[in-house]
């Protein structure tokens, strides 16, 4: 059974401003939604879980593996956490076409592509309606196409935890419904624990079994 057990404290600083976050969440549901108003700290929490922020205190445990435990001095670097993250603004590699963006996490420098990798990417391209733009660079894509590439790229390497930051916000209603259902089905099938930020009621309903609300960097209801 998949469990996530997370407690995170951190502060963001910039000249004249700071924002602090103190969030704990604990879920045995396969998929949990993280809700909250704009600027509440949702994206920041996801980045902390993924291991992208320095100076995070607390712990991150996924399915029994400890990825972070500041008290015990454990702090796996992002690359060893095996956490897939869809950035809110995608962060696609601008110099790689769609196919290579998807292959990125499957390929290791100086090693041959693992067997099955290409098939996996082909399947994702088809599923996400990206077949026609397989060889396009990100800057030649529409907003919705970019978002789908970001989603597919994060899923491709089969992470042990998937963090989605508004993964469907740029899609038209038809496509959104289709992808949402396929995503739910796929995540269920491969039992990939997921933490999801979304402002869409329907997304949350279809994709998540539990909901955590945060405001001003604090959990307000679990």
């Amino acid at each position: 059974m998949s469990t996530i057990d997370i407690a995170i404290q951190l502060e963001l600083h910039s000249p004249g401003r700071s924002f602090d976050i103190d969030v704990a969440l604990n879920s045995t549901s396969p998929r949990t939604a993280l809700l909250g108003p704009s600027g509440a700290g949702k994206s920041t929490v996801l980045q902390a879980i993924a291991g992208l922020l320095p100076g995070v205190r607390g712990h991150v445990r996924v399915d029994g593996s400890t990825l972070l435990d500041s008290e015990r001095g454990i702090d796996l670097p992002a690359r060893e956490r095996g956490i897939g993250l869809v950035f809110q603004d995608y962060a696609l590699f601008p110099h790689l076409d769609v196919e290579r963006n998807l292959l990125y996490g499957l390929r290791r420098l100086g090693r041959p592509l693992p067997t099955g990798a290409r098939e996996r990417v082909d399947a994702l391209l088809a599923q996400f309606g990206l077949d026609g733009v397989r060889h396009a660079l990100p800057r030649h894509l529409s907003g919705g196409q970019r978002q789908r590439v970001a989603l597919a790229r994060a899923i491709a390497p089969g992470p042990r935890l998937l963090l989605l930051d508004e993964p469907l916000s740029a899609l038209d209603p038809d496509l959104r419904i289709r992808l949402r259902d396929e995503l739910a089905e796929m995540l269920e099938r491969v039992r990939m624990p997921t933490l999801l930020v979304s402002h869409d009621q329907e997304d949350v309903r279809a994709l998540a079994q539990a909901v955590v609300r945060i405001e001003h960097g604090r959990v307000v209801s679990a």
């Binding site: 980045q47 992208l52 992002a78 690359r79 897939g84 590699f93 601008p94 110099h95 420098l109």
Partner: protein, 218 residues
């Protein structure tokens, strides 16, 4: 005329390779770290640019000459002598060209959106992989501009080269040293011919290098 041309090519390309590799390494490192005194270190790395090349050459031979600390060791350990050899010319050019490669590389690496590097890390990339697969390709254009300058400088350099490698026709005399020599000897027609050759060589090399670097991004 062909021999100095080939020698110039060989020296300039090798020196650019060395200065480029070291400059990219140093530039990447400086872009990824923050520490006290970094500004001063940065300025020190640019110093080879600020010293008149002849003077730089003078200090280089003090270091690597048969009686210099490094030279003595090189000789004892490997039987390598750099003075009056084309390898010495490579060394001199590389030192003179290094700041160009370094500064350009550092600026290019600093312009990269850090989110892209982070995205690569969440996809399982080691820092080595992030460098080769993300940072380097994204910094390509800026680094390319720096290497173009490095190459040009290495072709044009004569002050340090003359000091370290000497002015031995057929052995260490690069085109630039030959031009300098021709000017000193009052042989203006030869100087002009060589200048034209060097200019054309440089233009051809830079245009070729540009073609090679032409990324799908542009």
């Amino acid at each position: 005329m062909l021999q100095p041309l080939l020698l110039t090519l060989q020296v300039a390309l090798l020196a650019t390779l060395i200065a480029g590799a070291l400059g990219i390494g140093a530039g990447h490192w400086m872009a990824r770290h923050r520490f006290a005194g970094q500004g001063t270190l940065d300025a020190i790395l640019v110093l080879p640019m600020v010293l008149p090349p002849t003077v730089l050459g003078y200090y280089l031979i003090v270091l690597i000459g048969r009686n210099g600390p490094i030279g003595r060791w090189l000789d004892a350990a490997f039987g390598i002598q750099l003075l009056f050899t084309w390898q010495g010319a490579v060394l001199a050019s590389a030192v003179v060209g290094f700041p160009l490669a370094y500064k350009a590389a550092r600026a290019a690496f600093e312009e990269i959106d850090p989110r892209l590097l982070q995205a690569a890390r969440t996809l399982g990339s080691s820092e080595r992989e992030v460098f080769w697969r993300i940072a380097l390709p994204l910094a390509k254009r800026g680094i390319g501009a720096g290497l173009a300058l490095t190459l040009a400088r290495c072709i044009g350099e004569f002050g340090a080269t003359l000091m370290v490698a000497g002015n031995l026709p057929g052995r260490t005399q690069t085109l630039s040293v030959a031009i300098y020599s021709a000017v000193q000897a009052g042989d203006d027609p030869l100087a002009l011919t060589l200048t034209v050759i060097v200019s054309v060589l440089c233009i051809v090399l830079l245009v070729l290098a540009n073609r090679l670097l032409q990324s799908p991004r542009s």
